[in-house]
């Protein structure tokens, strides 16, 4: 900005030319006074300018071109569900990384006595400053991410957005939704509480009942046919090492394809 003062709008003259109630004129006078001194609006205008400079480089969006805004805007929340699940994923990743400083996947006994894993979660919940909030954010972000992913899939289904040329992205989406569920399941087992233990039992039985490869799958995923330390260790590594890498990569591909193809809007 130059040092020269811009031509200011004659607020005083303008206000006198209007029929304003006393309250309104006081209100405006105060805000204009603040504006003259703090100039916050100037900085926001720079941002606005930047936005429009970028914006002008782009072709018109469909809604702009066909003036659909007033008809479609209340569906926007449904179109934001994809980004929303990504944001929830990021929130869960950050809080999960912080939780990782305190959690230890150790000594999975099943005799009703608290294990190291259980104790570390109790420590996070009870003693750590804001620890309960951290675990709470992680858990809620996960829950909400799953819900958002389900709703995102429904939106895509009902607006027919999976059709040509987006079949591939639909398939990738199904892989992602499954990964999200596995993410949730492995995380559910980590505190090694009663719920975790018995959910783990169901998992072992499910994998054992797969024809032909059942025993092999149980060995691979759960480290045996009964729940043990190996199970907890595997769930932990799946949850904090394998799944994050795989899921992040696939999310990147998923969003990249959306980026290239554009968002499919119903007409």
């Amino acid at each position: 900005m130059s040092l020269e003062r811009k031509d200011e709008h004659d607020h005083k003259g303008w206000m006198e030319s209007r029929e304003l109630t006393p309250v309104e004129s006081v209100y405006l006078t105060v805000l204009i006074w603040l504006d003259r001194r703090l100039r916050v609006v100037d900085y926001l205008e720079i941002l606005e300018d930047l936005y429009y400079k970028v914006n002008m480089q782009m072709p018109k969006s469909h809604t702009e071109q066909y003036n659909l805004d007033n008809k479609f805007w209340y569906w926007y929340p449904l179109y934001a569900l994809g980004s929303f699940s990504t944001v929830a994923y990021v929130v869960a990743a950050i809080s999960g990384a912080l939780l990782g400083f305190y959690y230890a996947p150790a000594a999975a006994a099943a005799d009703g006595s608290p294990t190291v894993a259980y104790d570390s979660v109790m420590l996070i919940m009870g003693q750590l400053n804001l620890g309960y909030f951290l675990r709470s954010v992680h858990r809620w972000a996960a829950q909400i991410m799953v819900a958002a992913v389900f709703l995102h899939m429904l939106r895509v289904y009902f607006t027919g957005a999976y059709k040509e040329p987006r079949e591939l992205n639909w398939l990738i989406g199904i892989v992602l939704i499954s990964l999200t569920l596995v993410f949730g399941y492995t995380g559910y087992l980590l505190p090694w509480s009663q719920l975790s233990f018995w959910a783990g039992q169901i998992g072992v039985e499910m994998s054992l009942s797969i024809p032909l490869i059942g025993e092999w799958v149980a060995q691979l995923m759960f480290g045996g046919f009964t729940l043990s330390q190996a199970t907890l260790q595997r769930m932990y590594i799946l949850h904090v090492f394998f799944l994050p890498f795989i899921t992040t990569a696939i999310i990147a591909v998923h969003i990249g394809i959306v980026w290239m193809q554009g968002i499919a809007e119903p007409h």
């Binding site: 929340p77 179109y79 929303f84 309960y132 909400i144 040509e164 559910y188 009663q194």
Partner: protein, 254 residues
Amino acid sequence: MSDNDTDDVRTDGSGTGIVSPDDETPAWSERKERTQGLSRLTYEYFERARREDQDLRQQSDYVERDVLAFPAWPHEMMRNIALTSFFVGMILFVSATLPPEMPNPANSGVTPAIILPDWYLYWSFGLLKLGPLNPELSILGGSKLMADRTYGVLANVVVVGFVAIVPFLNKGSARRPVEQPFWAAVGMSGVIFSLTIAALSIKNLVPMDSHLLFDLTFLVPIVSATITYAVLKTMREGYMFDLNRRYYRLRPPK
């Protein structure tokens, strides 16, 4: 809303209509030979959209970039950032006010009253309880072809598999549910089934006779699909009626 009452032909809310006034225009019957109604309209709309996009790009004020539909940046992202910040606020609010519970340590000796995964796996858990539907083969002397739990795992595979092949079953350019009542009805039955099967998986918590619940699990989706189909079909007829009226008002039959 108000568009329906105006006399000029506005098919999608923008300027030009699909009916051109000259004699080169194919007759109604010729139009009808290709497709009709909403799908026809959609086709026209897509064609024009593509053409205008093409024109815009060729004006070369724009950066050369192949956008097939709706640019993700910045139009979509700006909107999404605004909306998602509300959602993140919601996450922080609920996590500050409602922290998670912590049950007792794992104990293989005590079977808890409730053995459940998280809510989002209820549907999968419910599919494991479809034992009564497992076919019995008389050849095998009434014994079942596979164990009930194998059957349940298989049901999961079938459901996910069906969802996966949807894009290859449902083709065409129809987008809105009203354009494709059948597929919307299928989707609706799927949504309702995922809810009823989830209810089935927690049947000891649902205050209802378990046999009735089992039957309802399969009946309710079918009923809701029928209702959806009927409603959408009716809406579609309404649109068609409106389109026809406008068409004939413009070009009255001889």
